[in-house]
């Protein structure tokens, strides 16, 4: 293996990869060097690095051509290709190309590092372009005779790279500090880990070249590996960023889609709510209209009958019809009634009616405030049952005392109406009706999913027990 690679040794020696000093400084020394194992491994690694860089350059090139945002990466491609071609341009005939490749490499490197940080100055662009012409031209004109010129360019180019790297690192640090919260600190540390060793390697190589040639020969191939490693790192970083950006974009798209779906659902919900509200409003308006019509037409006519009829029976019937109508309208238009309010209404009515009939009324309602509500219909039906019961007491029972108790028990509302009258006559038992309206009370209770029990016996009065679910 060593034998096989031996002929390449001079070329290898002339390839201090980072810079052209080998060719420019001491071509003679290169010939003299023997191929040590160390150099052999370094050369192998350089070969691999070149292959990997070529591949990476292709990948990065594809990415940068497809993504507008990654346009600066074309400089990275340029940098990589310059290095690969520089590595390949070992043939003596191609030596003239090397300064050009070197300056191109530096141009691309500087531009990439600075543009990555969005730091762009036109004078730098111009200076780098001019340099690409001046350096090869000056070397061509002098024909490699003025050794100092080569050394000078070498140092200048090397320093340019070092300074650009340092400046890029500084800018990155500034940016990280100004946006502590949202920029991940790992980015700066990664770049520092990539750039600092390379800067050190470049500086060390230049110093070594000035100090000791032997040392330089040993160390240079290894130090020179830093630049391709840096480029590979930058390339990987770029690919990694692109991959992350893609993941982010997918996440954004997903969340956008979700937000959209939520928004649509909300709009649909609002729409449904609006439609419902509208329907309710329309229904409410219509009910009010019907109620007003009933009052104004039917009510007025019934009222006329109430107050003009010669017959007491007819005027009583008309008055009852009017009350019924009013309750129906209330059931039609009514909102749920608080039980406590309903109790107030019932108490006032029952106590004053019984009082007018000289019947002593006792009203028992829950001591604590009840918080239940009654459907308007339940309120209306219960009012009817209560009214009917009180009417029965006044008209038929002959009672002197009546006790009305209201209670809320296990989700039921229980209304008990008790009197001390003569009870329902036996001949009515079984049918429990004829003017007492028991059947209609029971059917009303049934409509509310409740029940109405009537207990009565001659002489013990009557108990009506209404139970309705709340």
């Amino acid at each position: 293996m060593i034998q096989l690679t031996a002929p390449q040794a001079p070329a290898l020696g002339r390839l201090p990869l980072v810079l052209l000093c080998a060719a420019l400084l001491c071509p003679a020394a290169a010939q003299a060097q023997t191929v040590t194992p160390s150099l052999y491994w370094a050369a192998t690694l350089h070969g691999w690095a070149a292959a990997m860089l070529a591949l990476m350059a292709t990948a990065v090139g594809v990415v940068s051509s497809l993504h507008h945002r990654e346009r600066p990466a074309s400089f990275l491609v340029g940098m990589m290709l310059s290095w690969v071609v520089l590595r390949a341009a070992t043939a003596p005939g191609a030596a003239g190309l090397r300064p050009l490749l070197m300056t191109l490499l530096v141009l691309c490197g500087v531009q990439y590092l600075l543009r990555q940080m969005n730091w762009k100055r036109s004078w730098i662009d111009h200076a780098l372009l001019i340099q690409c012409l001046v350096v090869p031209a000056s070397l061509l004109v002098t024909g490699g005779q003025v050794v100092v010129l080569g050394t000078l360019w070498h140092v200048v180019l090397g320093l340019e790279l070092v300074v650009a790297m340092g400046w890029a690192l500084w800018l990155r640090r500034q940016r990280q500090q100004s946006a502590v919260d949202d920029a991940p600190g790992g980015d700066f540390h990664l770049m520092a880990a990539l750039l600092l060793p390379t800067m050190l390697a470049l500086v060390a190589e230049m110093l070594l070249a000035a100090v000791s040639e032997t040392l330089w020969w040993t160390a240079s191939p290894w130090l020179g590996l830093m630049l391709p490693v840096l480029m590979l790192g930058l390339g990987l970083q770029l690919l990694n960023n692109v991959a992350h950006a893609r993941v982010d974009a997918e996440k954004r798209a997903a969340s956008l889609e979700q937000r959209m779906a939520e928004r649509i659902a909300e709009v649909e919900r609002n729409h449904a709510q609006l439609a419902e509200q509208k329907l309710e409003q329309v229904t409410e308006r219509e009910r009010k209209r019907i109620a007003a019509d009933l009052h104004d037409d039917l009510g007025a006519k019934l009222l006329t009958i109430v107050h003009t009829s010669e017959s007491d029976r007819i005027s009583t019937l008309a008055r009852e019809a009017l009350e019924e109508m009013r309750l129906s309208v209330r059931g039609l238009t009514g909102k749920p009634v608080h039980l406590i309010d309903a109790l107030g209404d019932w108490r006032a009515e029952v106590v004053s009616r019984l009082g007018q009939a000289n019947i002593l009324a006792e009203w028992k309602s829950p001591a604590e405030d009840v918080e239940h509500t009654l459907q308007a219909r339940s309120y209306v039906q219960t009012t009817r049952i209560l009214r009917e019961s009180v009417s029965n007491i006044i008209k038929h029972s002959g009672a002197t005392h009546a006790t009305i108790s209201c209670a809320v028990q296990e989700g039921d509302f229980i209304l008990t109406i008790q009197d001390d009258g003569q009870g329902i006559p036996t001949e009515l038992d079984g049918r429990l009706d004829r003017g007492h309206g028991m059947a209609s009370m029971k059917s009303r209770a049934k409509q509310m999913h409740g029940q109405c029990l009537v207990e009565s016996g001659p002489g013990w009065g009557t108990v009506i027990r209404l139970t309705i679910p709340l």
Binding site: L303, L343, D345, W363
Partner: protein
């Protein structure tokens, strides 16, 4: 001598009401009309002591007449006579300054008694009206922009009476519970009606001012 304004559009009911009024105020002079416009012009020309007003009339509502009376003859007692027993109809009339209400379909005896009581300064107050009044004043207290209205807020005693009425106690019962005479309780109720009217008018004035109806002067 009593001069009573009677506003009712149905002739039979008007005749019946007239008879009822005659029964209570035997020597009263009764002026009848069937339209809001007629009533308003009568109010401009003649002095009355009592007005019985229907709410739903062909050309408007009796509430307008109550407001006009309040303006021109504040000493007149306006009483609503209506078929509507719901507070949606009664409450605005009470706010406008009505002193009480009679429900038309009640028996003659009951109506005569109620009218007598009202003429003696004992207006009726139902639980649902009491609840509405409580809610109205509770809302007034919460309104920050009406310092004027706070002067017509209810006293604790008046609120107490209202709360008991809302629970279904009759005025005599409340008198017994609070150890007050029937007369005193009636005075509370009158005060409540008066404050409801004053407060509602102040509120209306504030609202009008806010809307710029009074202009810059």
């Amino acid at each position: 001598m009593n001069h009573i304004l009677l506003l009712e559009d149905i002739p039979e009911i008007r005749a019946w009401l007239k008879a009822l009024v005659k029964q209570v105020f035997a020597n009263a002079q009764i002026t009848e009309c069937s339209r809001v416009q007629d009533a308003l012009s009568l109010v401009n020309g003649q002095r009355f002591t009592l007005a019985l007003l229907d709410l739903g009339l062909p050309d408007g509502s009796g509430v307008d007449v109550i407001a006009a009376l309040r303006e021109k003859q504040p000493e007149v007692q306006s009483v609503i006579v209506t078929i509507h027993d719901d507070d949606e109809h009664l409450f605005p009339a009470l706010q406008a300054g009505a002193f009480g209400y009679l429900l038309k379909e009640q028996s003659r005896e009951l109506l005569v008694e109620q009218l007598q009581r009202m003429s003696q300064g004992e207006p009726p107050l139902s639980p649902s009206i009491a609840r509405k009044v409580i809610a109205y004043f509770a809302a007034q207290v919460k309104k920050p922009t009406s310092p004027l209205l706070h002067e017509v807020s209810l006293t604790d005693r008046e609120t107490e009476v209202l709360l008991r009425v809302a629970k279904g106690f009759t005025l005599p019962e409340i008198g017994v519970q609070l150890g007050l005479s029937r007369h005193t309780i009636a005075d509370y109720v009158k005060q409540i009606y008066r404050k409801l009217n004053v407060s509602s008018r102040a509120e209306a004035a504030l609202e009008a001012q806010r809307l710029g109806l009074f202009g810059r002067n």
